[in-house]
């Protein structure tokens, strides 16, 4: 308690203007920045996967399985930042048992469970099933073999009829999966967009902005992973695949940026009561994270670079370099975007008369180390998933 008192007193010293006395402490910490970032990656990776499955964009086939596994790795971690943040994580099951139908946050439990079980796990399972059956018979190391046997659910039917059925069901799941992925991340946008008390958050566009920037970040993540893993395997990444992904990447970034700018311009034009304090916010506490990182580095630079790739015929190496750079810029820029929304919205007082401060501690449940740990964990899980369910190898291409 003394530690808390010290922190709050320090924060009080950094207050500018007037804030309501209870506002000195930020309620949603960096973990709540990480959460939409992670679910955004899930949604984005899944949408990239569904490009091939539902929209028959054959060129991105090489990344299909990787996208699904990436989505799963991040989805498994998605609940962790929330649990670390809650005052009573042991009561979190209440969201499942007595959800308040008026609350967007109450949707979390069901959307998450539905998406995990009915969409992602099923789709991955159906995609891998022929190989799982084969591995269950041929794997020498017994723990791994046991895992595969469990995954077959005791059925080793890989006849053409069964596989045709799998294909139809898989397709149906992906079709349902698209709106489910949209819901999984869109509801997070709605959680912010529906808070009328906070002018920085309140807008009907928020779910859409979140979704398109999620797509950009998900595509960027799979793009980088594909290039990295190809290099580790000593193989060249499929350029047609990369180029197609690059096109969708550019589209997503342009859409996300346009919506954000539309939002900003509208707010400035309408000049409502909160405009003054929000203008000060962007010029002050959010200048580097928003103007510099989110807009210039995270949006404008990738748009220009990827636009150049579309307009000028560049050699493969140059294109790969640009894709890699844009991928990293986008991932950083979209994290900054989440920071600017979540933390930015809490910097200014609801009295519209002042600002508070936020210092991310290093240790503690909601500290920097915790956030970094949550961000690294999915990659460890992904490594495990790749080990268990190798995306590449001899298999028949789908008809």
């Amino acid at each position: 308690m003394d530690e808390l008192f010290r922190q709050l007193t320090a924060a009080l010293g950094q207050v500018q203007g007037f804030i309501y006395p209870n506002e000195v402490e930020l309620q949603w910490s960096i973990l709540i920045v990480v959460y939409p970032y992670v679910t955004g990656l899930v949604a984005g990776a899944f949408i990239l996967a569904s490009l091939e499955r539902v929209f028959n964009v054959k060129a991105v086939r090489p990344t299909y399985r990787l996208s699904l596994l990436t989505a799963l790795a991040f989805l498994l971690v998605a609940a962790l930042p929330l649990q670390l943040h809650l005052g009573h994580p042991e009561r979190s099951f209440e969201i499942f048992f007595t959800p308040n139908p008026g609350s967007a946050m109450a949707m979390f439990g069901f959307v998450y469970a539905w998406y995990l079980m009915a969409v992602l796990l099923l789709e991955i399972w159906l995609e891998y099933r022929p190989q799982i059956v084969r591995w269950a018979a041929s794997e020498p190391w017994w723990p791994k073999r046991l895992a595969y046997r469990l995954m077959t659910l005791g059925v080793d039917d890989v006849s053409p009829e069964a596989l045709a059925l799998d294909d139809r069901v898989g397709r149906a799941i992906t079709v349902i999966g698209l709106p489910s992925a949209v819901l999984l991340h869109g509801y997070v946008g709605f959680i912010f967009g529906s808070v009328k008390a906070n002018a920085w958050w309140s807008t009907p566009l928020m779910p859409v902005i979140f979704l398109f920037s999620a797509m950009a970040s998900g595509i960027a993540a799979v793009l980088l992973l594909y290039m990295l893993l190809s290099r580790l395997r000593g193989e060249k990444p499929d350029m047609a695949c990369l180029d197609t992904i690059g096109k969708y990447f550019l589209t997503a970034v342009i859409l996300a940026f346009s919506l954000e700018m539309l939002e900003t311009i509208q707010k400035i034009y309408e000049a409502k009561e909160h405009m003054d304090i929000l203008a000060l916010l962007v010029q002050g506490r959010l200048f580097y994270s928003m103007v510099l990182i989110q807009v210039c580095l995270g949006s404008l630079a990738p748009i220009v670079l990827l636009g150049v790739v579309q307009m000028i015929d560049l050699p493969g190496r140059a294109r790969r370099a640009i894709y890699a750079v844009c991928g990293i810029l986008s991932l950083v820029g979209i994290f900054a975007m989440r920071w600017n929304v979540v933390i930015g919205g809490q910097f200014y007082s609801k009295s519209l008369l002042g600002f508070t401060a936020y210092k991310v501690g290093l240790a503690g449940r909601e500290g920097l180390l915790s956030a970094v740990g949550v961000l690294i964990l999915p990659f460890i899980l992904l490594a495990g998933l790749l080990y268990l369910l190798l995306p590449w190898g001899a298999r028949k291409p789908r008809e």
Binding site: L82, H88, N100, N198
Partner: protein, 253 residues
């Protein structure tokens, strides 16, 4: 289809259309009444209300102190279920607001008195809104409204997600570090259900704070609302606060 039944069909369709138009007209005539919302205290007895007379507040913060004592609200670190703000409006249009430790630390006299246009105190607290956004956003049902109109937090059920604290436009809520749940003014529910008044109302020396049963036209708060022009904070949000003010200056946020 024979010609005869087609004619009947057309006639029926025309009759239905005419009937629909007539019904729409009748509905429009009654449309104005639909916007009138019946006050809950017409049916529910008691239904607690609260008023603050800003022409009387002297900023002594006895209410803040009494609330902390009555409800075990921690003094270190600082969280407030009610607090006092002082507004200083200068002749050049500048507005300065402060609330030193919620008003518990003495305000002192405002600087440069010659440049002051007007200055006054504004006590703040939970507005116990009729259309409360904090209840709407609680994911589990830990934030609720009692049958007699007060907004409460169930600290045994709250999971501590802090969505309600974000959703309150008035800054009334805080995160209690001991119970690790959301917390706020309870309108001294444990007192008002025993026939006592909230602690803040009891100790106020100037009669700034007024409390009572809205369903009783003779109660202090009902009389106050009837006899004075009253305002609420942030009416455009549609929260319909039950806390009303008299003498709320346009600069008050």
């Amino acid at each position: 289809m024979s010609r005869i039944s087609r004619r009947r069909l057309l006639r029926n369709a025309a009759g239905a259309a005419l009937g629909w138009v007539a019904a729409s007209v009748a509905r429009r005539a009654g449309a104005v009444e639909r916007f009138v919302r019946e006050s809950p205290w017409i049916r529910a007895k008691p239904y607690w209300g609260y008023a603050i007379d800003l022409t009387k507040c002297i900023g002594c913060a006895r209410c803040v102190d009494a609330c902390k004592t009555e409800n075990d609200v921690m003094r270190r670190p600082f969280y407030f279920r009610t607090w006092i703000e002082r507004y200083v409006i200068r002749r050049n249009g500048g507005v300065e607001v402060e609330s030193p430790n919620g008003g518990l630390d003495a305000f002192g006299r405002p600087a440069e008195p010659k440049t002051i246009l007007k200055t006054f105190f504004v006590p703040k607290m939970c507005n116990h809104c009729e259309n409360s956004p904090c209840i709407q956003v609680c994911p589990v049902g830990a934030s609720y409204k009692t049958v007699d109109g007060t907004v409460q937090v169930d600290r045994r059920y709250c999971i501590g997600c802090r969505y309600c604290i974000q959703a309150c436009p008035y800054g009334s809520r805080y995160f209690n570090p001991v119970t690790r749940t959301a917390d706020k003014c309870t309108l001294c529910y444990h007192r008002i259900t025993k026939g006592l008044r909230p602690a803040c109302v009891e100790v106020c020396p100037t009669g700034t704070r007024i409390f009572g049963d809205l369903s009783d036209p003779g109660s202090p708060v009902s009389r106050f609302i009837r006899e004075n022009a009253v305002q609420v904070l942030r009416p455009e949000m549609g929260t319909r606060p039950k806390l009303v003010y008299k003498g709320l200056d346009r600069e008050v946020r």
